[in-house]
């Protein structure tokens, strides 16, 4: 409502201005043209490196070091991709599957664990609730690298090195999802839940049959952010998954970089394989992702 009102007042403002002072109109047109020129130039800065990445991956090795830059490959080839997917030294298809499996499992588990906890913090009163919550808040201010060494030792003690569980489990301890969902649950109308309780539903049934269906947008947002974070994670899987066949894509890129030193076409093909799924996801859910960053970023 507020934004609609704001829009209408600003358009009337523009209208009165143009009516009152006609020479200003040209200035406004010029201003707008200038704005678009700058917007497009900036867009190119963001797009050109991505285009260069794709272009390199489609070039034959012999055409990488030409005296003049070639934006569009003289001859298109998929040989980088076929060689990459055919090499048992760098099993990228395997890494792709591993990444997909780990990101999917992480996302589902985090949603389940965080939603359960968030519902209790939002709707139930119990001894120790505020204390636990305050402690969880404080940990947000502790930098992440504090946990890497001791968590590596814990994973080692649990014999989870070279095990996907070693990558997935520490992610379940995150507090962001709990805060995020709790905030959403608190905004839901209590009446529906109370009605279900009067009808004899227990807490778990209320949670499962009333609260979760109402929370689809929040759950979807958390799912997308969690999936992206897991898919892109680099350092933790690098430390935990030493076995080449268990590895995920981002540490796999490191393996490519050292295996193919200056065969840039091959390495860039690998980077394209890592980038394409998230870029497609981003294009489909762009407004959604951007809006969730804007709102959660502001709320911290």
């Amino acid at each position: 409502m507020a934004t609609v009102a704001g829009d209408s007042t600003s358009t009337t403002r523009v209208q009165t201005e143009t009516k009152l002072a006609d020479p200003n109109r040209w200035w406004h047109v010029l201003e707008r043209v200038l704005l678009y020129v700058i917007l497009i130039l900036v867009a190119l800065i963001f797009l050109i490196p991505l285009f260069w990445l794709l272009s390199t991956s489609l070039k034959p090795a012999a055409q990488l070091f030409t005296p003049q830059i070639e934006w569009i490959p003289r001859t298109f080839t998929l040989e980088n991709y076929t060689k990459l997917f055919g090499s048992p030294q760098t099993p990228i298809a395997r890494w792709f599957f591993n990444s997909l499996a780990i990101a999917t499992m992480s996302t589902l588990l985090i949603l389940a664990v965080d939603a359960l906890a968030a519902y209790a913090y939002a709707r139930m009163d119990f001894r120790g609730r505020n204390t636990i919550f305050a402690i969880m808040l404080l940990t947000l201010f502790v930098p992440g690298f504090m946990f890497i060494i001791p968590n590596f030792l814990t994973i080692n003690a649990l014999h989870l090195i070279n095990n996907w569980a070693g990558v997935i489990l520490p992610g379940l301890a995150g507090v962001f999802g709990v805060f995020f969902l709790r905030q959403f649950f608190e905004g839901l109308p209590r009446e529906l839940e109370e009605a279900a309780m009067i009808d004899g539903a227990n807490r778990l049934q209320v949670f499962y049959k009333v609260v979760l269906p109402l929370s689809r947008p929040a759950l979807a947002t958390l799912a997308v952010i969690t999936f992206l974070a897991s898919w892109n994670d680099f350092l933790w899987p690098l430390l935990i998954l030493k076995d080449r066949n268990l590895q995920t894509l981002p540490p796999g890129l490191r393996t490519l970089q050292s295996a193919y030193t200056s065969e840039y076409g091959l390495i860039m093909a690998g980077a394209v394989v890592v980038a394409i799924p998230v870029l497609i996801l981003y294009m489909m859910l762009q407004r959604y992702i951007v809006q969730s960053i804007a709102s959660t970023g502001l709320k911290g």
């Binding site: 930098p143 968590n151 814990t154 709990v178 430390l239 970089q257 890592v274 996801l281 960053i293």
Partner: protein, 319 residues
């Protein structure tokens, strides 16, 4: 500070209502929070304590028989100029601070400029917003590999053009300060969109009436920006500056892929080796010592917490 106050305020506000309907003790809430709390205890609570414990030890998981308690030795080695770890630690820390100073101003100022441009109500703005933010969804591995290639001396995109313009192109990734400039450019390109989105949302929250009042008072565009926009943005700017400093302090992937920490620093360590990299090298490579790595992490964490606190105070007191 605002971020802390909000959820706590919400918790206390809803507490009295809940107490009035409190019945007999029930296990239900504990069963709901149990899975998360268990994970939280194991992977956030315990490492907090364990990290401190092993920081007083010489500790290597591969040679557990040699592990021993050495008191404050890990910590004191960082203050003994004759110790190799003194030089590598401070080299990495100074590198990190340098990178924070290079990267935070562009990451905030460019983000603000982009947000102001996108805040104008012209058609197509959402498309540009989507493009500017896009690199943020990529993995640091992709970003690192991509810019490693762009800055290559042989075949790299940047040096093609610098050469054509008649410059002698620098060896970006193996000489200073060029390697830091390359890492900073890659980082700004990657994450400036994130700050932009947050600032844009804050700009859109500023009521139009304030600008109308300013224009009735005869304010120019620039005056409206400095007298209305900036003061209204102050809390969000403080938040953005803080999270950007923390993010830059955590620098790791970009030098890992782009420079490998090179060129070597004269006293030991690498010229583009930030503190995260040094912790990684100490804890996981060569004759690894997780105890020493842990003590480094704790030293740096204390410095960062102090820094964040000072930063918040500065922003608050300028009001």
């Amino acid at each position: 500070m605002a971020t802390v106050a909000q959820p706590q305020g919400a918790a206390t506000a809803s507490a009295p209502k809940a107490t009035s309907v409190r019945r007999k003790f029930s296990w239900t809430p504990y069963l709901f929070i149990l899975p998360h709390l268990l994970m939280f205890a194991v992977f956030v609570g315990w490492p907090f304590i364990n990290g401190l414990i092993i920081s007083f030890q010489q500790y290597d998981i591969l040679r557990p028989e040699a592990n021993k308690f050495i008191g404050l030795d890990n910590y004191t080695s960082f203050f003994d100029p004759n110790n190799l770890h003194f030089r590598t630690f401070w080299n990495a820390l100074i590198n990190t601070v340098q990178f924070v100073l290079y990267s935070v101003p562009p990451l905030v100022i460019i983000a603000l400029l982009l947000a102001v441009m996108l805040n104008s109500k012209v058609p197509g703005v959402n498309l540009f917003r989507g493009i500017y933010f896009a690199p943020w969804v990529l993995s640091v591995a992709v970003i690192g590999i991509l810019w490693w290639w762009i800055f290559q001396s042989q075949g790299g995109m940047i040096n093609y053009y610098l050469g054509n313009l008649g410059f002698t192109p620098p060896r970006w990734l193996s000489s200073l300060p060029w390697a830091w400039i390359a890492i900073t450019i890659a980082t700004v390109w990657w994450t400036v969109g994130f700050n932009m989105i947050i600032l844009l949302a804050a700009l859109q929250d500023i009521p139009d009436q304030l600008y109308e009042a300013a224009s009735i008072d005869g304010a120019t565009g620039w005056q409206a920006f400095t007298r209305v926009t900036l003061p209204m943005l102050r809390p969000v700017l403080a938040f953005v500056v803080t999270i950007t400093i923390i993010a830059s302090f955590n620098l790791f992937g970009q030098p890992f892929f782009m420079t490998g920490g090179n060129p070597p620093a004269p006293g030991g360590g690498g010229g583009t080796e930030p503190i995260m990299y040094r912790i990684y090298i100490t804890g996981f490579t060569g004759s690894a010592d997780q105890g020493r790595a842990s003590s480094m992490a704790i030293m740096v964490a204390i410095m960062m917490i102090v820094l964040s606190y000072v930063n918040f105070r500065l922003f608050r007191e300028r009001k």
